[in-house]
């Protein structure tokens, strides 16, 4: 590689990296926890999805009560079943029968929990799992009042993901020549800059395939409109819904409203069960009722093949309820279309839901490793600029920037553990509780460490506080949630057991890291470290 190219890779890698680092850290950290979203939800509510028998969804009573309250005639009704969760998302559209239906214009959506049998609004059903999952694509930023025609948070997340992809490519090219020789180089007792560089390179290269997969699937999942909008203009006359239908995101059921009521409305429970009997192992994903109570009434039941059997597979049955005939049928076990295959591939790669806990844990470790790569990247950036020939005001700015970034990043760990504890102790949940707890404590931690202006302290203390809080998570679940580790294990509630054990492990590991950091901190400092150490006490992370 010639020098010029090397310098270009180097500069583009540095610039794109330092712009996105803090946000990317948030995405990585929250994203790593999101692999366990369902387990976290189960942990918080205290009802395991594994050991508790999943009741069948009460179509009959649900539709009856909705019908008496809102008059379903002429509406489309949707049930979306969350995987591994007792929660169902229920919604219905305004009615097309505006003449007879008094409440025709009303529409509604809510979450129904089939274990507690309660309806809650989305905001009330919001739990820590959902919060961390949404944080990992910055959904909370959507509430920032910047109107640009696309949710602000998603746009930022998309940009970060794209720059990350760019930084990954340049980073790989940067190390291409020395990929093999440097792979085995780790010099933890050398200069600080060397330590950071070695961590950054070694972990970056080991994690490269993983990070690349997540960057590229992530950018697709969050901003595919960037790609699709021009196509909708050029090839579809601006009809976005037509594109989504072609790409199998939505299923349209062609059945114009006829405004002739059916004599008897068929019992939907039996119809859904009839559909389910075709593929008993497949996961029921969505039930759509088109034109309720009309002669044109249709029922669509969508299935997904279990991931341990097939990576990609969606099935659908559409019934014409006026005569009971099947209009369309597609087995989830059929070989998928090209589109379906690519989409499932991207989706499952990103969600890591194809190999049980093993894959999830590996992905979590790789994700946290990504966090370490980001932090070490920030520190390389700082240390490389902390030289005598750099003007004082620039050095000051750099130091501040690094302080702020590191404070934001590292305080996420104790704050996350704290939120787990807070929801368990108070029993509160919902957006109105989780938002203030998480964001204010995050702000408090961050401000505190920015003001302390000591990278080593930030690292040491967040590790210690985080370790203690993590240790408290399973204890709090025992005391306030009345489920101790051994109890959840005994009743076979593996998801709840897993989260407790998981925090216990995190606690032990971070505590060990903390002890190492402290030991090193008090060791007589070698001479060559002095210039850096006086200016900024930085300590190792791992």
């Amino acid at each position: 590689m010639n020098n010029r190219n090397y310098n270009i890779y180097f500069s583009t890698h540095t610039v794109s990296g330092i712009i996105i680092c803090a946000l990317l850290y948030v995405i990585f950290f929250a994203g790593s926890f999101s692999f366990f979203k369902d387990e976290i939800s189960a942990w918080q509510s205290g009802t395991s999805n594994v050991s508790t028998e999943q009741p069948t969804f009460p179509y009959r009573t649900m539709l009856d009560s909705l019908d008496t309250e809102y008059n379903l005639a002429g509406r489309d009704v949707f049930f979306y079943f969350y995987p591994n969760s007792p929660k169902t998302y229920v919604s219905f559209t305004p009615s097309q029968d505006t003449l007879h239906n008094q409440k025709a214009k009303e529409r509604k959506y809510f979450t129904y929990n089939s274990i507690t049998k309660k309806e809650t609004s989305y905001k009330e059903a919001y739990d820590v799992g959902e919060f961390l999952y949404r944080l990992h694509f910055l959904a909370q930023l959507n509430q920032v009042p910047i109107r640009i025609g696309y949710p602000f948070g998603y746009l930022v997340a998309g940009l970060v993901a794209f720059l990350f992809l760019f930084a990954l490519i340049t980073g790989l090219l940067l190390h291409w020549d020395k990929l093999v020789s440097n792979f085995f180089v780790f010099r933890p007792w050398s200069k600080w800059k060397t330590v950071w560089t070695d961590i950054h390179t070694a972990l970056g290269v080991i994690g490269f395939p993983f990070q690349f997969v997540f960057a590229f699937t992530g950018v697709i999942l969050i901003v595919n409109t960037v790609f699709l909008t021009p196509f909708s203009k050029l090839l579809y006359q601006g009809k976005m819904d037509k594109i989504y239908e072609d790409l199998e995101y939505t299923t349209t059921i062609e059945s114009p409203f006829q405004n002739k009521p059916l004599h008897t409305i068929p019992d939907l429970q039996t119809w859904v069960q009839r559909a389910q009997q075709q593929w008993p192992d497949a996961f029921l994903k969505r039930v759509t009722i088109k034109n309720y109570g009309d002669l044109s009434m249709r029922l669509a039941v969508e299935f997904e093949a279990p991931t341990h059997q097939r990576f990609a597979g969606t099935g659908i049955i559409i019934y014409d309820l006026s005569n009971g005939k099947i209009i369309q049928q597609r087995s989830p076990y059929d070989s998928p279309t090209y589109i379906g295959a690519i989409k499932s591939f991207i989706y499952h790669l990103h969600f890591g839901d194809y190999g049980g806990y093993f894959v999830k844990i590996i992905n979590f470790i790789m994700g946290i490793m990504g966090c370490v790569v980001i932090v070490s990247g920030i520190l390389i950036w700082l240390v490389a600029r902390d030289k005598k020939n750099v003007p004082a005001h620039k050095r000051k700015f750099n130091a501040w920037l690094a302080q702020i970034f590191i404070a934001i990043c590292l305080s996420m760990f104790p704050v996350t553990a704290l939120t787990f504890i807070a929801v368990k102790i108070t029993g509160n949940s919902g957006q109105s509780f989780i938002y203030p707890v998480y964001f204010y404590s995050w702000l408090a931690f961050t401000l505190y460490y920015i003001l302390r202006r000591n990278l080593n302290r930030t690292n040491r203390e967040t590790l210690l506080v985080g370790a203690l809080l993590s240790l408290a998570v399973p204890i709090v679940n025992g005391v306030f949630g009345k489920v101790w580790l051994w109890q959840s294990y005994a009743i076979g509630a593996t998801d709840i057991f897993f989260i407790d054990l998981f925090w216990l492990f995190i606690s032990v590991i971070t505590f060990m890291a903390y002890l190492k950091v402290v030991k090193r901190h008090h060791r007589p400092v070698e001479k060559q470290l002095l210039p850096v150490q006086q200016h900024n006490e930085i300590s190792t992370l791992v």
């Binding site: 190219n5 270009i8 583009t12 794209f162 992809l165 760019f166 490519i169 340049t170 590229f216 950018v219 697709i220 595919n224 790609f227 699709l228 021009p230 196509f231 050029l234 090839l235 594109i243 072609d246 790409l247 090209y338 589109i339 690519i342 989409k343 991207i346």
Partner: protein, 64 residues
């Protein structure tokens, strides 16, 4: 990048081209961005990119 896939859509099934574009378009885009940085002259790379765009858009313009 967009224009490249637009051209492909005249040779293959358009919905398949779109999903392929979704899958690899962003990587292609990032690589093109890098090429722009690697270029020795900003004008030259502009020229090359503009030429490529015109070339790829041609089938669409001729058809429209």
């Amino acid at each position: 990048m967009i224009s490249f896939f637009l051209m492909l859509s005249y040779f293959f099934e358009k919905k398949n081209v779109m999903i392929t574009g979704i899958a690899i378009g962003y990587i292609l885009w990032a690589v093109l961005l890098l090429f722009a940085f690697l270029a020795r002259s900003g004008w030259k790379i502009w020229l090359i990119y503009l030429l490529l765009i015109t070339l790829f858009v041609l089938p669409h313009l001729l058809n429209a």
